[in-house]
Amino acid sequence: MRRIPACLWLLALCFCCTLAASTAGEATRGIFEKRCLNCHGDAKTSGLDLRRLDTIQKGGAHGPAIISGNADQSLIYQAVARLGRLQMPPGKPLSDDEVKSIRQWINEGAPWDDTKASEPSWWAFKKVVRPAVPAVEPSDWVRNPIDAFVLHNLNQKGLKHVAAADKRTLVRRLYFNLHGLPPTPDEVATFVNDPAPDAYEKLVDRLLASPRYGERWGRHWLDVVRYADTGGFETDMYYANAWRYRDYVIKSFNEDKPYNQFIQEQIAGDELWPDDIELTGGYDIQPQKLKHLDARIGTALYTIGPTYHEAALNGEQLRYEWLTDAVDTTGQAFLGLTVGCARCHDHKFDPISQRDYHRMMAIFAGSEEREIPVVSKMNVFGFKSGYPNLLHVEDVKEAIQKIDQQARDRGTADVLSKFSGDVATAYKLPAKERTPKQAELSAQVFKALTQAGLLENAAGKDFTLAYTPEEQKERDRLIQLLGQAAFKASYNYPTATVLGHADVVPEIHMTSRGDFHGNGDKVGPGYPKVLGGSEDIDDKSGSGFVPERRRALALWLTDAGHPLTARVMVNRLWAWNFGQGIVGTPSDFGRQGDAPSNPELLDWLASEFVNQGWSIKKLQRIMLLSSTYRMSGEADADNLKIDAANKYSWRFNRQRMDAEELRDTVLSVSGVLNAKMGGRPVIPPLTKEEENGMWAPSQWPVSLDTAEHNRRSVYLYVKRSFPFPMFTIFDAPESSQSCPRRDVTTVAPQALALMNSSFMVDKAKLLAERVSAAHPGDAPVEVQSAWMLALSRNPSDSEKQSAARFLEKGSLAELCLVLLNTNEFLYIE
């Protein structure tokens, strides 16, 4: 290659710098954005930042990335051309053309326009800028800015919105969406017959104000935070206070707690509102303290994750597992990012480094579970004054165990008497003193004892003890006494399990590939660099003499300018209202997630959300009042060709009821739904078939009061190792990690469950009884009434006829079962 005189190079360099860009330069910027900036942009992996010329020239850990004018000597060229040991990018190499462009760009003197590099490169990390509402042709259809954004998008894509849904469809849609329950026939009639122009608005407001709303919308949030009542795994320990968090969530939605406060409470309720809650003076806790208590219960979010019992054999592992769950859940629920990848290595797509991940772990290091009273000190002392009865309980228990021991000793003596003296002697020796021979002899005794049911054996753990008549009598008496004593005794005062602080704040070190023995560099607490968290959190102690790292995290997340928090939540709200998000991946706003189908709308909603004081109900009201929400679900052949998935909202999405909604609706239609709110989990009965496969059926103590079995689904026991079978069939989340969006499957076991399960068959019978009790002997009216209850409409003539024909041989209960199986029942329009 011919050498070009240096002066010419210099000239070219100056020329290009002033010109700022060239074709090769622009191509290079494109290549960097596509293939390099994930790691060498915001994240500055190995210290290299490829967004600005000075940082490119400065380079990273390996030295300057380019030597302007000399591609062959430039590290970056060597790396992309794969000439030396450093080969970049990992994975698929750049194409020859791309490599050529970079070469040319360097040789041209690396012309570059820095002004293009100031913002984070990924849309979701840029600050929300409230977009202007697009000017669309004025029409009745545009009721609020949402409609303008949607219409603008539709126009651009060549789509037309469909007509509005009829009132009966709307009233059903609103009830199911906001309450997860069907409207009663009266409620349908009231709305349908209300000619007032604001009838729809009134209905929306009434439904938003009902406590049923929190039960439905709280459940959505419980998916996101992987709620369960147990820890999972073999022992599947019970979290006795998890339900307080569930109730906290329901209450928060019902009270329209501002979302920023909702986040602050869950992450750092204790650090933001420290209080000596039970020390009120008097029997009642003052309202202010109750509020603080409520905020602290929010932190229970971090005490209900999956816990692997045996991890406690190794404290380090237990802590590591807990921190992992805390960081992953925080990342998905609040940031809408899948940070989990970065536990073991730098994220391959999003600028979240392994160091970022560990810095987030450090935020939670030093926090741990605490059990706090939820009653005043007066009450705590009151409970304690009842403890002597517990002494009695222990006493009676010991007396029973004594009898058992007597019986066991007698049985053992019996067994021993059948062996020779040598064997008995060997058995009686302390284990450590036996000779090998004696050990063998004693093993024979162990075997015999096991067979006699006196010892734990290979096939089971049940003992069979033989009592004398006197023993039996005394034992029976004691068992009864135990019951009485237990009934009188006062056990522990009511508590909540929340997050507090450990006595020692452990250091967090970088780990290698997910191995919990962290031997790497020590890292301090902080947020991901890309989101502005370059500095560690200032770790000075707060008023509680504890590091307030979570407080800092909560305040950072809820800063009005945070690029993700509001966007992620308004997208969730949109998805739960409309059936799919503006971003189709509600917990992944990173590069692997879906691009927003209407970015301006998303940003307008995010900005409006913050402007409205982070009020979920206010934002939701805007969505519900839009024409976009009121559209029908009808098809349009032209639209289908362009946007079959309805990504751009030209119609309303038909949605199958989810698992809880289905169960609640069936209970409601059959007239037995128990509307009681809150409290400890309800354990419904299982059929023998359903129970099959549970490791310890004793861990499924069915609630005694059968009325409890008809409570709303959100109150049912969520057992991680044994999800409620009917819910599993209908795609309920499995609760080991955050679930952003439920699958909707259509499979034969659903049909089997709806046609054959005792739950459905029983409820169909109840529905039949309900309609015939109201209209005894009048079959056509019974049919009509069943239709009204299940489908909120009268049967058509042809439906009446086919129903009548069916009833010639079939029963009303069977007809009701058919009705509860129809697509019209299962799908909400």
């Binding site: 990992p90 045996e310 036996r434 290979a458 089971g460 692997q592 099959n692 499979v747 046609m755």
Partner: protein, 497 residues
């Protein structure tokens, strides 16, 4: 630069956002969707989440499928390798002595290995078949098929407690929540049966890892294992409700169809609605096909005897094994049998106390049934296309169970995930092979080590699936059964003459 498996996982580019969207785009009919539960391979590939770019839809597998079905015989609790398929004469010689320091230290659930003596096997090992593979007397019957078996003696993972061990073996990961191997296979291949679930599980009582061991994790729920019971209603809800006769139910379904058709008239574009209608047809068919499947009365006495049905000890597992044959005969893709669930309070193969006694009891329950299954499949020409996998949570320690303060005369063995045996047969495997070995006492896998990921990649390879491509996009990345591990050279070694 060489493409590593990991890079591949991250090279994802295309994804359809929903099944509905995909179907609408692809213009697919509903018939197959209704049957998604038992989907055909091609239909499936189009219908779910669509890993089209580098999925298996339009690509040839790395090598042709050898196996069409899998029967995974899972010994719940963890069978001891040194008492079954991994003879250790040195261990026997060192019986009663402390573990030599040269073996280092590893973590066990209960045992401090410096505190306990080595314990040789009490069971006699014999050379079996022409290949001369040594197998212990515990599997006297099964051992007759040594020449059909590939015994892998160098398996390992790192989960030394039951749930983690079971989760590793069943889902290829050490934490609960990933899809099970059966789910992955059905996700990848669908089923050949028209009226039975594609992935069937049989239990004898609960297992410690619970339903997540055969669950679908983050795959759609349609891929989870369906529990088949050998008493009562064979499959959940498959029995018609009491008082509703078959013809009555037929009438109900006809009425349902009428209403659903009317509803669909103005909603022709929605394939989910028609899929649901088909799912009822399928459900109705299952009400006949499942009882027919579960009815063993038509099997000959000779067959029943072959499986040990009728004998107290072997009846339960024999029934499961016979059912397994009937399942694969009917095209079911993946059958998972668990021996040693908690039925009757059993601890399964978990021989912490008296391992010798425990294993004698447990092996007696399964040995004849497994031999019966192998013989039966062979005689029907089904073994060639059915991959049998035998294994458990992990193996057991070559020393006794316990630590400080425990009875030093304990004859139990603790859990040992660091080296254990799994054997495979059928599914194109040329038997009579031993793969890998543990160290002299059987503590750790030593030569030719085979990680759980390798077992799974081998299984997928035998089924004709490229384990590096069978992936599912979830929470920001593609996941696969074998994570970033796995190798398929084992499959070719197992099938080589």
């Amino acid at each position: 630069m060489k493409m590593t498996g990991f890079d591949h996982l991250c090279e994802r580019t295309i994804r359809a956002s929903s099944r509905r969207e995909f179907l609408q785009k692809a213009g697919l009919g509903f018939g197959m969707l209704g049957a998604s539960y038992l989907l055909e391979r091609n239909a499936f590939a189009a219908s779910v989440s669509s890993p089209m770019q580098h999925g298996f839809a339009a690509k040839q597998p790395d090598f042709p499928a050898k196996a069409k079905h899998v029967i995974f015989l899972f010994m719940h609790g963890g069978p001891s390798q040194v008492d079954t398929f991994d003879p250790k004469p040195v261990l026997r010689k060192l019986d009663g002595q402390p573990v030599p320091q040269s073996f280092g230290k590893v973590d066990f659930q209960f045992t401090k290995m410096e505190k306990v003596p080595l314990m040789g096997s009490k069971f006699a090992f014999k050379k079996r078949g022409q290949s001369g593979i040594e197998i212990s007397e515990l599997f006297e019957n099964t051992a007759k098929f040594a020449d059909d078996m590939a015994v892998i003696r160098s398996c390992y993972h790192d989960g030394f407690t039951h749930v983690i061990g079971q989760t590793w073996m069943n889902t290829g990961w050490g934490r609960v929540g990933r899809p099970s191997a059966g789910s992955w296979v059905v996700y990848g291949l669908g089923s050949e049966s028209e009226n039975l679930p594609a992935f069937v599980v049989m239990l004898d009582g609960g297992i410690k890892a619970g339903s997540p061991a055969y669950g679908s994790g983050f795959l759609p729920a349609m891929y989870q294992g369906t529990v088949l019971r050998t008493d009562g209603s064979p499959i959940l809800n498959v029995t018609r409700p009491e008082g509703i006769e078959s013809n009555e139910q037929r009438r109900m379904l006809e009425l349902l169809n009428t209403y659903n058709h009317q509803y669909s008239e103005t909603r022709q574009d929605d394939s989910d609605l028609s899929a649901r209608m088909s799912s009822y047809e399928l459900a109705f068919k299952m009400q006949t096909s499942v009882p027919e499947l579960a009815d063993l009365s038509k099997e000959t006495d000779a067959t029943r005897t072959l499986y040990g049905i009728g004998d107290t000890e072997t009846h339960d597992f024999g029934t499961q094994c016979l059912m397994a044959r009937r399942l694969v005969e009917r095209g079911v893709r993946f059958v998972q049998l668990y021996s040693g669930g908690n039925k009757g309070g059993s601890v399964g193969w978990d021989g912490h106390g008296q391992c010798e006694e425990n294993h004698t009891v447990m092996a007696r329950r399964v040995d004849k049934p497994i031999a019966g299954l192998l013989a039966d499949l062979k005689s029907r020409g089904l073994l060639e296309e059915t991959l049998i996998i035998w294994g458990g949570d992990f193996g057991r320690t070559p020393f006794t169970n316990g630590g400080e303060g425990d009875n030093p005369t304990s004859k139990g063995r603790d859990h040992n995930p660091y080296g254990f045996s799994v054997w495979m047969a059928g599914g194109g495997i040329k038997g009579g092979k031993v793969i890998g070995s543990t160290d002299e006492i059987g503590l750790r896998a030593a030569e030719d080590k085979v990680h759980v990921h390798d077992l799974h990649s081998t299984m997928l390879s035998l089924l004709g699936l490229d384990y590096t491509k069978l992936s599912y996009f979830y929470q920001g990345r593609d996941f696969r059964l074998t994570d970033v591990g796995g190798r398929n050279n084992l499959a070719s070694r197992l099938t080589a003459a």
